[in-house]
């Protein structure tokens, strides 16, 4: 472990480096797809080099205009969104956006989504050739698109099939992002693991709805949306806890993390790394504050290596 991998505060050495299915992260704090754009949007507020990993907005084969507005509405301690995977498509992503990230010293993970299983294969193959991609996060859990999305993540066999196709298309680490909108997230995780996934990330948003009392219609232009933020944290921690017990893959935990205490809760439940989504909207420096807080907790509790904490609540 090199010195950059850790931090020395008050003379104590805390090892923060983690490995997510072959992706070396200097610390366990990543950004959640779709909430952090392509990184540069937040560069005025934080030093991106200090992040454990950057997970970019979901990318599809073809450009997408996204869903009608409104696309976002606040609920109690949460946010419902239906962005609808607006993105420039994989070609423009590789040509225009990826090069801008080359200057940073951090793993870039590309979140991919498809309408069909073939889409996923093509995306994997295209990104396998792209320089500067540390790994893929396979979004089989987006509640905001008509075709594909959550559908793939709700059926263990389809989830496995998508995983196999992506693995066949790339030599890079493959993280499969799971949906909480299922009867058994463990059953999905098991199939995805068997199909060759290198890691799991969870949770994507919970399917939700808000209705406007004035118009008497759904608030969001698209009707249903995905719920994120502190409201969903107990559900997310539970999902990580359940999957950690049964599946031996590293987990990126997310869903409602605002503070370091939240992040540590996920790690104790079994997450090797964490990602912050909605928190960035509340506080653009949230990732840095969480990182600092994790270090402080480790020092105060004499934890030398963050990996000691992973899944500690099961022991």
């Amino acid at each position: 472990m090199t010195p950059q991998n850790g931090g020395i505060i008050n003379g104590a050495k805390t090892k923060l480096a983690v490995n997510i299915g072959g992706i070396a992260m200097k610390n366990p704090v990543a950004t959640a797809s779709g909430t952090f754009g392509f990184g540069s949007e937040y560069a005025p507020y934080i030093d991106l080099n200090l992040l454990g990993a950057l997970v970019v907005k979901g990318i599809t084969l073809q450009p997408r205009a996204g869903n009608p507005t409104p696309r976002l509405v606040e609920t109690t301690a949460g946010v419902l969104n239906s962005i609808g995977l607006q993105n420039p498509g994989v070609e423009r992503f590789v040509g225009e956006l990826l090069p801008g990230l080359a200057g940073y010293d951090l793993p870039v993970i590309v979140n991919i989504a498809g309408d069909t299983i073939q889409d996923y294969g093509q995306l994997a193959a295209r990104l396998d050739r792209a320089p500067g991609v540390a790994g893929l996060e396979v979004n089989i859990s987006c509640p905001n698109v008509k075709k594909g999305g959550m559908q793939f993540g709700s059926d263990p066999d389809m989830a496995a099939e998508v995983t196999r196709v992506v693995k066949a298309g790339t030599g890079k680490p493959v993280i499969v992002k799971l949906s909480p909108n299922v009867t058994s997230i463990v059953a999905i995780a098991e199939q995805v693991a068997r199909a060759g996934a290198d890691a799991l990330s969870m949770i994507n948003t919970l399917l939700g709805l808000a209705i406007d009392l004035k118009t008497r219609r759904p608030v969001l232009g698209n009707g249903l949306g995905g719920l994120s933020g502190p409201a969903v944290k107990p559900v997310a921690v539970r999902a990580v806890w359940q999957v950690y017990r049964e599946v031996k893959l590293p987990i990126i935990g997310m869903g409602g993390i605002i503070t370091a205490a939240d992040a540590i809760e996920f790690i104790l439940a079994g997450a090797t790394a964490v990602a912050l989504g909605t928190a960035n909207f509340v506080n653009p420096r949230a990732t840095m504050d969480v990182l600092a807080g994790i270090k402080r907790y480790m020092i105060e509790n004499e934890v030398q290596d963050i990996n000691e904490l992973v899944g500690a609540a099961h022991r």
């Binding site: 754009g37 205009a65 507005t69 976002l72 607006q86 605002i258 909207f281």
Partner: protein, 258 residues
């Protein structure tokens, strides 16, 4: 583009439900341009969770002060209104693309509907600094919501009031009143319906104009794509632009109205 803990200098209820709040925030005052906004954390707890976008209403660069003018629309703005002198408020900004300067020649107008005067007042401050004086069409439901007429006149501009109920000035909409007094450039802010009809007039008479839009926001910095609005550029099919970075001010001709 900063995160600042601004200190409340003054909080004033102009008429019931409409507040002007002045904050000490030197760097923001220095960098702000008319039409930009702040993304304001209204609560300390996690409910309400998100920041609220509020336009920069006025700036005093010497004192390092920034003012907001806002209507209590819900829980976030109600919490904002509860802040008192000396309280700290976490603000993000200045954010977004503001108004562009008018051509050096030509008559300039400003069309404000209700609370829409919020960002336009800052624009009027800046225009008078470069000795450009505008016709200001102030529209409101009723007389007492014609905000800041005398301050605007004190800046050297001419005020043309219009009220829906005829209690002051022209009895009708601000857009009708503007149509009777066309100019070369116009800056507009107000309810969507008003801006839509303003844009139609501008197109009809080929007048250069800019309008400031609102959309629900997540990040405020261009990262989440929540604040999309449909726009077109020459020859293009529509696309979704982000109100928080490509806007909130857009050339009138680029906005696609629903």
């Amino acid at each position: 583009m900063l995160i600042t803990d601004a200190v409340v200098i003054n909080q004033e209820e102009i008429i019931p439900g409409f507040f002007r709040m002045t904050m000490s925030a030197g760097e923001v005052a220095k960098n702000a341009r008319p039409g930009q906004f702040l993304h304001v954390r209204c609560a300390d707890a996690l409910d309400p969770l998100l920041r609220r976008p509020v336009s920069i209403h006025a700036v005093d660069r010497e004192k390092g002060e920034v003012a907001l003018f806002y209507r209590v629309a819900g829980r976030g703005t109600a919490l904002l209104a509860a802040r008192e002198k000396g309280d700290r408020i976490n603000i993000l900004g200045p954010l977004g693309r503001g108004f562009t300067r008018p051509e050096s020649s030509g008559k300039v107008s400003v069309a404000a509907g209700g609370i829409g005067i919020a960002p336009l007042y800052f624009l009027l401050q800046e225009l008078s600094l470069i000795n450009t004086y505008a016709n200001v069409f102030l529209g409101a439901a009723t007389k007492k919501q014609l905000f800041f007429s005398s301050e605007i006149e004190a800046l050297g501009h001419s005020v043309f009031p219009a009220t829906d109920d005829g209690t002051a000035g022209y009895h009708g909409t601000v857009v009708e009143l503007f149509t009777q007094n066309l100019s070369d450039t116009v800056y507009g802010c107000g309810p969507a319906g008003m801006l839509k009809s303003l844009c139609r007039i501008l197109e009809q008479y080929k007048i250069r104009g800019e309008v400031s839009l609102e959309e629900r926001m997540g990040c405020g910095v261009g990262a989440c794509l929540s604040c999309a609005c449909k726009t077109v550029s020459a020859g293009e099919n529509y696309r979704y632009s982000r109100v928080c970075v490509e806007g909130p001010v857009f050339p009138a001709g680029e906005v696609v109205w629903a």
